[in-house]
Symmetry: C2
């Protein structure tokens, strides 16, 4: 497509090349650009090296070049200086940015060093992009390519949350304004509980029907979750395009209602939180094999104190007995990883913390501790609520981290289904 | 340096460009190459696109080009075909590999499809690199650059654990044999408790003294942590080089002993776990603002059940009172985020769970709930142990996630210092 808008992502930092830091920025930016109809053609990662950076700037052949990293206060951060050289401009001090940096350090109770204040030195030829989360400003450069075409270069900090805010509030809207890329309507529907190939089988007929409406489907699998992304070009009729996608989404909801837990950026712990909040109900947790991870997920949601009361991490059997009221003969008879124990854990914590709902986890996270009857990955999950307790056994073989993650997802989805039942 | 051996990593896959999959392979490979003295100059990530791949192969200007991805059995996987075109060769079927693939599917109880068997078709001009973990073989190509120099291209599967095994068993040893890169001695010392620029000030004189010993220093910062990497060329005397680096490391230990928590890949929760295990002592936790995250870190370490008994996530004040014995007038008088409350939390959980040590966290994780006296990021942390309780106030402004992460690090480091005191 000749009027397609393309982008290169240039990630700068020695730490990326040696595996010290995983480059999560590039993927995030690629996803964001796709949302507004800009295609990333390549991601180039290089070190804090003048010649390499100049070479990459020189060879830019896409409409957009988004650069991250190398804007810190130390002397190996040279991106700003190299951009100055490339655009044949000089650094000028911005007094209001200098004042903001000084204020930022004062708010931390520290005095800014001169290297910190020097972050207010920015290339004269650029438009400064505000950094609302940190001290390294962004820089927007344009280079005319003759006729109507231009190439945009944007330098941003490599700290993910600073860059995210800068992209969302400034860079993405400005790119849309400058390039007016063809609008794509996306809708991403989130499922859990069925693997990719089995899900594909179940929705095969529906998938075949998408083409006639000009809708494309992508399967985006990750551990325990399959995201289904519907997309279509708006062709100057975004309302109509959204309605077309909406009709197909509705059909999918009717087809696999129990598998769908949300859309877009929803996380299962947010969905569960919203349901609890709507109902004015509360939750407590008793975690053994998940070791606090489910509590962490629940409390990572801002405002979770409205419905989450607390929990017990009962790693040792003594804690299961004393804090959750598990009889010692029940533990001896069934073992900690069993239906009776996990159900008693859920009921015990629900009673102790006087909540409407509770969840409990007991399993073998590994790598050790597996037996032929209960191999690593065996997990019992219980949800207790106003009308009793319900439990399921899951089997999630894999690394310790994966067992914990998959258990958490399965538990949250069980709670979600109980909440809407 | 003219005899430095350099590498490019070429990561192929549409899923990498849209952020569906994070490119963890490139960083891992960079770390492995650095260990054997090969420097990664750049990482290039492109889609499954013939022209882009050919262009990248054409422009290779390093000694080594390591390629991952695009070797799967489906029709969007084209890396093998493009390598054939580039090296002007053809695919030939390898019967023993075909037999292995058929056997692999039989072991899963499935019949191989022809697309699976076609993974035994490999370029005639390459040396096949065995894949002990999957069905996509690796491919090693060499191109003479005249005189003694040659360029090596290696195609590998993108599945991380398949690639890791292939690299470790075959590719890295072969690269060492072919290029005999200069050996580099690395040592990475991990610090927490002081930001990068202040740390740099404190160790400035020591840093200046490194050059005369031919040692380079890199600062590798991440939230709450600054890693200091010392490296030097071994110049045919690895023992001497290690000793040189060792002397400087020792000086650093004497300079900032309270900041150093480990080396290399150590995580603070592992270090604390080792210390507890060595002492045969146990730990419990009372978490408010960290919401289970510290328990999660502790229990993410295999074998943590040997020293971690459990914990209480006391999100609601009622839980603080009932499970941890906080008097209600203490909460009213001081607020939950205060020294007396966090100390009582630590002592309460230590008593209830009868452990040698305990840690407690109470703070304002945000984004709401801050006040002028206790803004978001204010955290009280207490460690209780055999000889009493010790508490500190931290201030970690930032996103909710960052407040939680930084609090956890600060608490673990406080516990570490108490354990070795």
């Amino acid at each position: 497509m000749s009027n397609e808008i393309t982008a290169t992502i240039l990630s700068i930092g020695d730490e990326l090349l040696i595996g010290q830091t995983i480059n999560t920025n590039a993927g995030w930016m690629g996803g964001q650009l796709a949302q507004i109809g800009i295609r990333v053609r390549r991601v180039l990662t290089i070190g804090d090296d003048r010649d390499e950076i100049l070479d990459a700037l020189d060879k830019a052949d896409t409409d957009v070049l988004l650069i991250t990293g190398g804007l810190g206060p130390t002397k190996d951060d040279i991106t700003k200086q190299v951009l100055c050289q490339f655009f044949d401009t000089r650094l000028v001090r911005h007094p209001h940015i200098e004042a903001r940096i000084a204020e930022f350090f004062r708010s931390l109770g520290r005095a800014p060093l001169e290297v910190n204040l020097a972050q207010a030195d920015l290339p004269e030829a650029c438009t400064v992009v505000p950094n609302e989360r940190g001290t390294a400003s962004g820089m927007w450069f344009e280079r005319s390519l003759g006729a109507d075409r231009k190439r945009v270069f944007v330098g941003m900090p490599g700290v993910p949350y600073e860059m995210h805010t800068m992209m969302e509030r400034h860079v993405l809207p400005e790119l849309q304004r400058v390039f007016a890329p063809p609008t794509i309507v996306h809708r991403t529907i989130l499922t859990t509980g069925l693997g990719e190939s089995h899900l594909a089988q179940r929705i095969a007929a529906w998938e075949d029907s998408l083409a006639e409406d000009g809708i494309k489907l992508a399967y985006l699998p990750s551990p325990g979750i399959v995201k289904l992304r519907l997309s279509t070009y708006a062709n100057n009729d975004p309302v109509g395009a959204r309605a077309r996608v909406g009709r197909k989404a509705e059909q999918l909801y009717r087809l696999v209602p129990e598998l769908i837990y949300g859309e877009g950026e929803d996380r299962l712990e947010q969905v569960v939180g919203r349901l609890l909040k709507e109902r004015g109900q509360t939750l407590s947790l008793a975690e053994s094999c998940t070791g606090g991870y489910v509590s962490h997920l629940i409390t990572s949601v801002p405002g979770s104190s409205a419905y989450f009361t607390g929990g017990v991490v009962s790693y040792a059997n003594a804690v299961k007995m004393e804090e959750l009221g598990i009889p010692s003969d029940m533990l001896e008879l069934n073992g900690a990883v069993s239906r009776p124990v996990v159900e008693q854990m859920a009921q015990g914590v629900r009673q102790a913390l006087r909540t409407d709902w509770s969840m409990a986890f007991s399993g073998v996270a590994g790598p050790d501790g597996g037996t032929p009857e209960k191999p690593v990955g065996t997990v019992w999950i219980a949800v207790a609520g106003p009308s009793g307790v319900r439990s399921v056994q899951g089997f999630f073989p894999g690394t310790r981290d994966l067992v914990i993650q998959r258990s958490a997802l399965a538990g949250l989805n069980l709670l979600r289904k109980e909440l809407i039942a």
